[in-house]
């Protein structure tokens, strides 16, 4: 890849882990007490792999991605556990260290491209900024790279667009520019937090296809955060389902959909209207609402809304255990679906 001068890839073998999240918790101090937004989350992402993180609003998926990025405020936040990215511990890392990682090795694409782009700076300069900083390119080299990036993300007449301001572009085009900026320094990990939520269906499909083709081309790892199971279903290797700050189920994508074990995952799928269903089919909503995260809980957080809940669910918190039928499939449930029996807790 011509865009990665000075980046050493030989050291990394293909199958090695790029990101290791181990018992990570993030707690905020709020007026109503402490709020554990991410609660004891562990997972590993290998190089070139895509992990989808799904959950409803307030499930902690955005706080988790900010924790991985080291983008949380300094005060009022307690981070525990460890997040190791490419050999570097992120938790508690000083800003000086993070600045060498942000943009260069780890980049992000947020939901609202208008809010993420600087409205008074031309597109070209916003792309070249990180190229000049991290890769030490001179002006003309940076400009040439920016041009090729705009081409790669499918922006028509890229030369003219370099001189455009964000307001002159449509939502889909702005999101493409955001992707170009994120990819400028060939990061190893791309965090896309609801990258298509504000976009139209036809444009959403374009952006997701673009992301997955660029990912394959660059052998980049991607975390795709979305509230929409449809978005993550077709473009991920693994999916983690979050509820009330915890990862309640994590599995290879095909396994998750074919043999989901956690009743919450199934309830989420069942409550989504499908094109394949006839009209006026009665939907199965999840009654009730997610728990208040500031109050202490006993047992499984989903138990009050779960139709399979037993006394044990209400008193003991289920650990994330490995499925006996698939070592890559883990879930946190005392009464898993598909009659998967739990062996000894891990």
């Amino acid at each position: 890849m011509s865009l990665t001068p000075g980046l050493d890839r030989s050291a990394s073998t293909d199958e090695s882990a790029l990101l290791e999240v181990c018992n990570a918790s993030t707690t905020f101090a709020t007026d109503r007490g402490s709020l554990r937004a991410v609660d004891d989350v562990s997972f590993v992402i290998k190089r070139g792999e895509t992990l989808g993180i799904v959950g409803e609003s307030g499930s902690g998926k955005t706080v988790l991605s900010r924790s991985i990025l080291g983008l949380l405020p300094r005060s009022g936040v307690l981070q525990e556990g460890s997040i190791v990215f490419d050999g570097t511990e992120i938790v508690g890392a000083p800003d000086k260290l993070m600045r060498a990682i942000w943009g260069a090795k780890m980049a992000m694409v947020f939901q609202d491209p208008m809010a993420s782009l600087n409205p008074v700076v031309r597109i070209g300069r916003q792309i070249t900024e990180s190229l000049r900083l991290h890769l030490d390119l001179d002006r003309s080299e940076a400009k040439a790279t920016a041009l090729s990036l705009l081409e790669q993300v499918g922006i028509p007449s890229p030369k003219e667009r370099l001189r455009s301001y964000p307001f002159e572009l449509s939502g889909g085009m702005r999101q493409r520019v955001m992707i170009a900026i994120a990819l400028a320094c060939s990061p190893k990990l791309l965090l896309a937090d609801e990258p298509t939520t504000g976009l139209d269906v036809t444009v959403q499909a374009q952006i997701l296809d673009l992301l997955s083709s660029l990912q394959k081309e660059r052998h980049m790892s991607v975390i795709l955060v979305s509230h929409d199971l449809g978005v993550v279903a077709s473009r991920t290797d693994n999916i983690a389902v979050m509820y009330a700050g915890k990862v309640v189920e994590i599995a290879p994508t095909a396994t998750l959909f074919s043999s989901m074990a956690m009743p919450y995952t199934k309830a989420l799928v069942d409550s989504t209207p499908r094109l394949s269903q006839p009209s006026h089919l009665r939907l199965s909503p999840i009654e009730g609402r997610p728990p208040d995260m500031t109050t202490a809980r006993q047992g499984c957080a989903f138990a009050p809304r779960c139709s399979f809940a037993t006394d044990r669910c209400r008193s003991e918190t289920p650990p994330l255990v490995t499925s006996p039928s698939n070592p890559l499939h883990r879930f946190a449930c005392w009464n898993p679906l598909n009659s998967i029996s739990i062996g000894e807790s891990s």
Partner: protein, 324 residues
């Protein structure tokens, strides 16, 4: 389409333009729709296609340039202000953002009772009873809710309260503009089910405007697909989703994502984005993105033609049904 149910709300050749500086935005360009009694009519399309403007123009919240909206035998555009306010009571609108549609400084009791207060239809104990019933109907416990403020409720509950307020004046028609798009899927399903229940119970007719194809299919009897200010296809919902005849409907359906990794249908990815409604393309407005476009599409505007009973499409080259 079914002659047995009378048309309640009829939109004929509606044109709405907005001026943007010296230019004109062609938001809605000749839309005709009929909402029959007891029916749910879905309008689906991407942002900027004019679906919200159709809803607002129906309520006369934005002035239409030409065309008519008749409700219950009255042409709404020809009524005086006073008559319009009275007649329009029969149509109520619910909006996308449930939290900003409720006044944050008023109690739920007063929010739901506001239509009653404005029209002085009920006072005292009677007013209280109507409000309680309305909240009960939407699954909100009045004893808990009445003296609270909107911020104490979740998005789904606020949307229920908005629906309660809309139902207080016993409307015949509800216009629902993206009412579930700000909600989580589990809550979205609750609201969609509630809407079906209320429709059956109060004999409502619903104009359901949304961008989500699966949601529209779930609630609607008939669906209109809009693109850049025009209706490109109109059919019963099961018919439309199984046999889309307009290339745009086909592309829209194939771009929709399903929560199922095995459902990787042959996808038609449209290139580009909808053109600017300030300067819509000549002829068929979809031709700039249409994979099947030919010269004729640029020269001649396609008119809606019925391809099977109740299924009309505005395309020179509609997709033919493959008989299997």
């Amino acid at each position: 389409m079914t002659p047995s149910t009378p048309t309640l709300l009829s939109i004929e050749n509606l044109v709405v333009n907005f001026s943007s500086g010296r230019k004109t935005v062609h938001a809605v360009s000749g839309v005709s729709l009929q909402l029959n009694e007891g029916d749910t009519l879905g309008i689906v399309g991407e942002s900027g296609c004019g679906k919200t403007t159709v809803g607002k123009a129906t309520m006369q919240l934005v002035p239409s340039r030409s065309g008519s909206v008749s409700f219950d035998g009255h042409d709404l555009a020809r009524l005086t202000r006073k008559e319009l306010r009275r007649t329009r009571l029969g149509i109520q609108m619910i909006f996308q953002d449930p939290i900003s549609s409720l006044n944050p400084r008023r109690k739920i009791r007063d929010i739901v009772a506001e239509p009653l207060d404005i029209w002085k239809t009920a006072e005292g104990a009677q007013r209280e009873q109507i409000v309680r019933d309305a909240l009960d109907n939407v699954g909100i416990d009045p004893d808990v809710a009445l003296d609270r403020y909107p911020h104490e409720f979740s998005g789904g509950q606020c949307q229920r309260i908005s629906i309660a307020r809309a139902l207080v004046m016993k409307p015949k028609v509800l216009i629902c503009d993206e009412i579930v798009s700000a909600l989580d899927v589990s809550v979205q399903a609750q609201i969609l089910n509630l809407l079906q229940d209320l429709k059956a119970r109060f004999g409502l007719s619903i104009l359901f405007i949304a961008h989500d194809l699966a949601v529209v299919k779930n609630v609607s009897d008939r669906v209109a697909v809009m693109y850049l200010g025009r209706i490109c296809e109109f059919a019963g919902s099961d018919e439309l989703y199984s046999h889309p005849a307009h290339p745009y409907s086909e592309a829209l359906l194939s771009a929709a994502l399903e929560p199922d990794p095995s459902s990787d249908r042959s996808r038609i990815i449209l290139t580009g984005e909808p053109p600017n409604p300030i300067d819509p393309p000549s002829g068929c407005r979809f031709r700039t993105r249409c994979p099947y476009a030919q010269d004729r599409c640029a020269e001649e505007e396609p008119v809606a033609q019925e391809i099977s009973p109740g299924h009309s499409v505005a395309c020179h080259f509609p997709l033919l049904r493959t008989n299997s």
